[in-house]
Structures are given as C-alpha cells and as structure tokens.
C-alpha cells in the first residue's frame, strides 16, 4: 500500500485521535488500519471496541454536541478521514438520506448495547441466585460473603482486561460494527 495514495491523516500506534471529555464535532471514517475505543477509569483502561477500515466513529457528538464519550486511539498505524461538521450539515440538508448510514450504525450500536445489557442482567440474576443458594446451604449472612465476592469480581475484571488487551494486540476484531 503506497503511503502517497492514502487519504485522511496518519496516526501512529497509540496516538490519540479523539480524547474523552473534549469538545469537538468532527466525525471520522477509517481508511486504513485499526483503532480502539477506550474508556479510562481510576488509571485503568477498558477497551470497548476495535474498529477497522470503513468504520465510522465520533458520530454521537455530531448530533448532541456533548463532550466525547470515549477516547479513540490508533492500534498500529491508522489512517483516518475526518468529516467536517459544517460541510456535512449542509450536505445532509440537501440530501437527508446521507444521514441514513450514520443512523443505521447508531441503531446497530443500540442493538449491541441492548444485547450487552441483557447479558449483564442475566449475569447479575445468576450471581444473586448463586448467593441465595450459598446462603441457604451454608447458612451465612450475605454481608459475610462480601470480601469473597469482591475478590472474585476483581479477578474477573483483571482476566477480562488481559483478554481484551491480547485481542487488541493480535489485531483481532472484538466487535465489528
């Protein structure tokens, strides 16, 4: 792939394209390479998604003008085309169907989030059932089990984070939008 013939701007490995909390109304389309969507909390980074060529990101701030909800970083070298806000609005005014693909992608993400939410709720129900069974079986108070639960959850979090990082570095898609 000739570097001369790539469109957009080149970002180096781990370079921040969009920073969480900042104000900007530009959206992006990936032309080459991969980027990761990350959320930072208490010094640790959770990868929410890995996006590849053709994927769109940053579209939420187009509509609600809110600060960026997550940080987007390049995974390896990535070339990303920025879509200018004012020009896009003018084009959508002339041809509203242009927004359809963005809307379709947002619908897909809502479906995906619903799926994750249902999965999380199932896990919670499963955990509460297990705890109740444990309480009945061992006749202990739930409060007494708290340190044990915290240890299990922390271990799970660390395990998940390690798997996610491994996927990202292997360049495999965790979630294709």
């Amino acid at each position: 792939m000739s570097e001369d013939s790539l469109l957009g701007r080149l970002y180096k490995d781990d370079e921040i394209i969009v920073e969480e909390g900042t104000q900007s109304r530009t959206m992006y389309v990936i032309q080459g390479g991969k980027v990761k969507v990350v959320k930072s909390a208490k010094g640790s980074e959770t990868v929410l998604a890995l996006l590849g060529a053709g994927d769109i990101f940053g579209e939420m701030s187009l509509f609600d003008a809110s600060p960026r909800s997550a940080t987007i970083k390049a995974v390896g070298e990535a070339r990303v085309l920025a879509i200018e806000y004012e020009g896009l609005l003018k084009r959508i005014k002339m041809d509203p169907t242009l927004a359809l693909r963005i809307i379709k992608q947002m619908c897909q993400r809502i479906r995906d989030l619903n799926g994750r939410l249902i999965s999380a709720q199932r896990t919670m129900h499963h955990t509460s059932d297990t705890l109740l069974q444990l309480k009945k079986a061992e006749d202990v108070r739930i409060k007494d089990l708290e340190p044990k639960i915290i240890t299990i959850v922390t271990q799970l979090q660390e395990k998940l984070h390690a798997i996610t990082e491994q996927y990202v570095h292997q360049g495999e898609s965790l979630h294709e939008y």
Binding site: M1, S2, D4, S5, L6, L7, G8, R9, T26, V29, Q31, G32, A53, G54, I56, L81, A82, I83, E84, E86, G87, L88, K90, R91, M94, D95, T97, L98, R101, I102
Partner: protein, 451 residues
C-alpha cells in the same frame, strides 16, 4: 397513457446508458434503495468501453480529481476509495502567478482529503504500474449491488410504445421500464436523444486540453508533493492550467479558448513550469494528450416519461467536481424513480429541482471565475490578494476568509453561492481594496528608505 401514474414495480427493468460515474452511481443508489424498500430491480448498464484497458481507449478523459466534499460523502455512503484507485492524496493547492507562488491549505481540516485518480487504467505504457481505474472501481460497486454490465453500443432507442426499446446494430436488445441517460457529453449519442425525447437538449460544452506526462514517482513526489498546482500565467489562449500529481505521472489540464497541443507545449516551456520539470526536459514529439469537452451549462428538460438524464448529460458544476455532480444527479434521479415514480411529472417535481439548484449555483460560479480571471490579469489586485493569503497561511488557526474563498473555489468544497455571499462581506472588500492602495505606497516608502 401519458398522464397515468407509472412506478418502478418489483422486478422492473432499468437500462442505464453509460457506465461512467453517473451510470454506476445510479445503479448503486437505485439498487440500495430498492432493497431497503423490499424490491428487486433488473438493472443493466450499457458501456462499450472497458476501463481496464490502458491508454485512450479505456479513459473517460477528465482531470481525475475527486473533490474534498465527494471523498467525505462517498466515505459516509460506505464507498471508501482504495489506495490502488487513489494515485495521490491531496492536502494543499499551490497557486503560481507571475508574482510568485503560494500554498493554500484548508483551514478547516488538516488532512489529505482530495483524491487524484485515473478514469481509465492509466496512460498507454502504464501496464505494470498496478493502476486501478476509478470508473471501473465504481462499476464494480454497481455490479456488487446487483447491476449487470453489457458491452453493447446502443445506437437506437425507440420510444414508440409505452416502454423505451433499445437497439444495437439493428437488433432489439430489450425494452425497459426506465431509461437512464448517463452517456456524458458524447455529441452523437446526445443528438440521438434530442431527436427522440421532446424538449431534451444536451448542455453546451467547451473544449479543454489535457496531457499525461511521465516523470517518475520520486520526481513527482519531490517536486509536486501532495498538492495540485494552479498556474495563472497569462499565457495567450490559456485561462489557467493545473498540474495534478498521479504517482509516476502528472496530468496537465489547460482551460482556455479553443486550447490546442501547442498551448500545452507553451505551458510546459514557460519558465514558471520549467522549474518543476527535470533539467533538460524536452516536450516529446508524441505525448499523451486529448481535447475532451466539458459541460458548462445545463441540459434542457433532462427527463421525460420513463426517462431521466444524469451526470454531464444533465447538469454539472461549472469547471469543478464533475464526478460530484454525477453523484448528486444520479442519486436524486434514483430516489425520485423509486420513491415517487417515473412519470414526467414525478421527475419534474422531485428530480428537476436538484438540476435547477446546480444550474443556479453555476451562475454564481460564472461570476466568481470571471472575477478570478480579472484579478489574475490585474497585477496590483492579484499581488495584494496573494499577500493577504500568504499572511493568513502563516496562522491557520485564525480566521482565513481570503484563503478559504480560493480553497473552496478550486477544490469544489462549497457551493458557489456560498462562496459568492462571502465575497460580498463589506470588510472583505474594504480590506482587499486597502491592501491594493497600501501595497504600492509601502513599496515606494521602502525603496526610498533603502536608496
């Protein structure tokens, strides 16, 4: 029959005459929308030319620049131009005048947002260079969406029955529910449709001169970079010339009154251009050049019952973004046909406003290009303008109205009306006139001090 509502039903046959960008875009968008509506269309694109051949036979003869706005729009449509199609990603424009050169970058986005492409698979002799034709790329997209491509040349269209009938070499190939004219500005084909479609008249055209010169990718990258170079040199017969880098080649596009091969040679031999060419470069006796026509106006009544004309056969933006106009008209016609119907009234009510909007905008474009030409021939004004732009380019974070006007005019990033309205801002005019008056005064003072 004439007034009955006609629509594209499930399984309707659509014949598209011409497999250039306009024809392919129509195929893509009609197919996409039909699928969303739960319909299937029988789409056939008739294109005699094979875009995978090298040289003139596979080329649609155009400067081959995909504008900033079209690159972004296509990306939003899910059509991302691959590196095999993009010959060079453009990030700036250079303007060369007799008073010097200036580079202009977009103040809005810092990126390579404009693509240079070959419409065919490259000039003659470029077989091993792995160039993918832009037109072929779009045609393949249309095929992916379900269109079928036939190499027949449609030499007769019969409109006697309710449905158009297509003939080639005396044989009837098919009838169709909808006929889409996407044949560009081919005079012969246009005349055929003028004879059979009441009221249709092809748009007026002007001749341009174009040439591909091979200089090698290193030289092109080193001397021309990721920039399109516009030369306003007051060469007799040339309004302006542009040089577009494309890998191993540069494309030279000359706009003027009846340009000829001699005009290209005169441009290549001009001192301002010579410094961009290898030392000792001589214009070869035989070099790849052509004189394609470009549309500079609007077709009259680009629609009829069961017929729509798109792209250059309909309306296009003045001097700029012909491929972008093909996208706009093809998509508008496809959506009209599927969402509203294929009767004359449907096209007049829902498709024609898009054409009229392009045509109205071109009136502003005519004024802007006339003003630009005037400024380029009046030295004090062009010198002052470029001085202001040069200052603006030093700090792109600030407001850069003069640069933005040039950028938007030559890149086709904004509609001409939008640019025109900005030039009417009183402060814009006052500041420019002030600079015109002050510049000679400053020059006189400095020369007096330095004496």
């Amino acid at each position: 029959m004439g007034g009955a509502k006609v629509t594209l039903h499930d399984g309707a046959r659509v014949a598209i005459i011409g497999g250039g960008p306009a024809g392919s875009f129509f195929g893509i968008f009609a197919s996409k929308l039909a699928r969303d509506m739960g319909k299937a269309l029988d789409l056939t694109i008739y294109e005699r030319k094979s875009f995978v051949t090298h040289g003139a036979s596979g080329c649609n003869m155009c400067a081959g620049v995909v504008s900033e706005s079209l690159v972004q729009t296509l990306a939003l449509e899910g059509i991302n131009l691959p590196p095999t199609v993009v010959q060079c990603g453009i990030e700036s424009y250079y303007f060369h005048t007799l008073d010097g050169s200036i580079e202009i970058k977009s103040s809005r986005l810092s990126q390579r947002g404009i693509a240079t492409v070959f419409r065919g698979s490259g000039p003659a002799g470029s077989v091993a260079k792995g160039i993918q034709s832009f037109d072929d790329f779009l045609l393949q997209k249309a095929i992916e969406h379900g269109a079928c491509v036939k190499r027949s040349f449609i030499d007769r269209v019969c409109m006697e029955g309710d449905k158009p009938e297509l003939y080639s070499g005396g044989n009837m190939l098919q009838d169709c529910d909808l006929l889409v004219g996407a044949f560009g500005i081919k005079a012969g084909t246009g005349k055929m449709y003028e004879d059979i479609i009441p009221g249709y008249k092809v748009p007026p055209t002007v001749k341009t001169a174009q040439s591909e010169i091979e200089l090698g990718s290193d030289w092109v990258a080193h001397r021309f970079g990721h920039s399109i170079h516009i030369f306003l040199l007051r060469i007799p017969g040339i309004k302006f010339a542009s040089v577009i880098p494309k890998g191993d080649y540069i494309t030279i596009s000359v706009l003027g009154k009846d340009p000829k091969a001699d005009h290209i040679k005169a441009f290549l031999n001009h001192d301002a251009m010579k410094k961009f060419l290898p030392s000792g470069f001589k214009v070869p006796e035989k070099f790849c050049h052509c004189f394609p026509k470009i549309s500079v106006g609007a077709a009259r009544k680009p629609f009829a019952r069961r017929t729509a004309f798109v792209g250059d056969a309909s309306s296009t933006r003045l001097y700029k973004d012909g491929i972008g106009s093909a996208y706009i008209t093809a998509k508008a016609a496809a959506h009209t046909a599927l969402l509203h119907g294929i009767g004359e009234k449907d096209f007049r009510e829902y498709y024609f406003p898009t054409c009229k909007s392009l045509n109205r905008d071109n009136l502003f474009g005519q004024f802007l290009f006339a003003a630009n030409h005037l400024m380029s021939v009046v030295s004090p004004i062009s010198r002052s303008y470029f001085n202001i732009v040069r200052c603006e380019q030093k700090s792109l974070q600030k407001n850069t109205p003069y640069s933005d006007i040039l950028w938007d005019m030559f890149t086709g990033s904004r509609c001409y009306k939008d640019i025109f309205m900005r030039t009417l801002h009183p402060w814009w005019i006052i500041y420019l006139l002030g600079a015109v008056v002050i510049y000679p005064f400053k020059k006189a003072v400095f020369s007096f001090i330095n004496r």
